[in-house]
C-alpha cells in the first residue's frame, strides 16, 4: 500500500537554479489593482530599498528587500522606465526572477510639483508642532515621502 501523501508533495517544487547565469532578469511588478510588468525580461532593475538604491542584475543573490518611497528604474537595452513607488517589497529569487510589489506606483511625469512642495512644507511644519509619538511618526512619514517625491522630480 502506498504511504499517504504529505502536503508538501502537492506543492510545486522550487524552480531549479540554472547552472549558468541567465542573460536577463524576469521582472514581475505588481500593484494591488494592476500588474504593471508581468514576466518582462530586462537587463537590470534598480530598486529603492530601505538600505539604498539596489541594482539587480541577472544572477543576483536571492534577496528580500523592503522598499522605501523612491524610484524604481527598469533598464532594457537603452530604454529606462522609471516609476515612483510608495513602499513595498522586492523578492529576488535564485533563478533571476524578481517580484516587486508596491501599493502605489506612478510614472514620474504624473507627479504634480506644486502639491509636493506644499505637502513638504506642511509636514515639515507638523513635525515641529507634533505632540504625541504617533503624530510625530505620521508627520515624519509625510516629510520622507514628500522629500522622496521631490528628489524624484528633480533627479
Amino acid at each position: 500500500m502506498e504511504p499517504p501523501k504529505t502536503p508538501s508533495s502537492f506543492m510545486s517544487p522550487r524552480p531549479p537554479t540554472p547552472s549558468t547565469i541567465p542573460s536577463k532578469i524576469t521582472v514581475n511588478f505588481v500593484l494591488p489593482y494592476a500588474s504593471e510588468l508581468a514576466t518582462k525580461e530586462v537587463d537590470m532593475v534598480i530598486i529603492p530599498a530601505t538600505t539604498g538604491q539596489m541594482g539587480v542584475l541577472p544572477g543576483h543573490v536571492p534577496t528580500i528587500a523592503e522598499l522605501k518611497p523612491g524610484i524604481l528604474s527598469v533598464h532594457e537595452g537603452n530604454d529606462v522606465t522609471k516609476y515612483f513607488l510608495s513602499s513595498g517589497f522586492a523578492f529576488i529569487h535564485a533563478n533571476s526572477v524578481a517580484d516587486i510589489i508596491a501599493v502605489e506606483a506612478v510614472p514620474v511625469d504624473r507627479i504634480d510639483q506644486n502639491s509636493v512642495q506644499k505637502g513638504l512644507a506642511e509636514f515639515t511644519q507638523k513635525v515641529n508642532s507634533a505632540s504625541t509619538d504617533l503624530e510625530k511618526a505620521e508627520a515624519q512619514i509625510g516629510v520622507d515621502v514628500h522629500s522622496a517625491l521631490n528628489s524624484a522630480l528633480s533627479g
Binding site: 489593482y33 530601505t50 518611497p69 515612483f84 510608495s86 513602499s87 513595498g88 501599493v103 502605489e104 506612478v106 504624473r110 507627479i111 504634480d112 502639491s115 509636493v116 505637502g119 509619538d133 504617533l134 510625530k136 511618526a137 505620521e138 515624519q140 512619514i141 509625510g142 515621502v145 514628500h146 517625491l149
Partner: protein
Amino acid sequence: MASNAAVPFWRAAGMTYITYSNICANLVRNCLKEPYKTEALTREKVHFSIATWKEGKPEKPVIRSDTPEE
C-alpha cells in the same frame, strides 16, 4: 543576539507596517496630476458596514464610507 534590533521610527511609535504603507500610498496619490489623481482617489474609495458582536448578538452596524450619505 539583537532581539531588540533597531526598529523603524513608525514601529517604535506603535504603527504597523500596513498603516505605514497605506499612509505613504495616500500621500503619493494626493500628489498626482489631475486626471490621474481623481482616477486614483475614485479607485480607492471604500464603503463598508461594520457590526461589532457582543454576547452573541450584533450591535448596530456602523457604515464607513467615502461616498456622502444619501
